[in-house]
Symmetry: C2
Subunit: 94 residues, 2 copies
């Protein structure tokens, strides 16, 4: 994890997790109380996102903050790592 | 991890890891190329630190970013989680 572009990798984690949930960028933005273009920028690796917004995104994606980084470090989301026990098979309602 | 003050918890992780390494705030600041008062503020939960500075701090502490958050979520640093295999018994040289 030394020489990676963490903004790009973090954005890819967010996008992958959002798609796992079958969630649109608009729905993620609404759940996280962030602007849709800001969420788009995060996913595209264009934002040096702050700790508090990382937390909002993780909550909106029902995942631990650590899981978003483990996905970067290990190439996959950890099993059973969802904040509420989400296991990757359920579909989001919105 | 829903209603915690993530800035304070993150700061506590940084302080605990720094002390594990026997490292001063000055040494951490120097390794991370950040100001010492900024590192002090981070440890005291006063800074909404950005992704890039989280990365700098993690590298300076020879630990994965995920480990700093796993310490918050689980109460302890994961075993074998150090970025370079640090096992918690070695002392930092500076």
């Amino acid at each position: 994890m030394r020489n990676i572009d963490l903004k790009k990798e973090f954005g890819a984690s967010v996008r992958e997790r959002r798609k796992q949930l079958g969630m649109s960028q608009e729905a993620l933005a609404e759940r996280a109380d962030l602007h849709r273009t800001y969420v788009s920028d995060i996913e595209n690796g264009l934002r040096n996102i702050s700790l508090e917004n990382i937390h909002r995104i993780a909550r909106a994606l029902d995942v631990h903050v650590s899981s978003l980084f483990l996905r970067i470090e290990t190439g996959a989301f950890p099993k059973g790592a969802a904040a509420n026990g989400f296991n990757g098979t359920r579909r989001a309602k919105n």
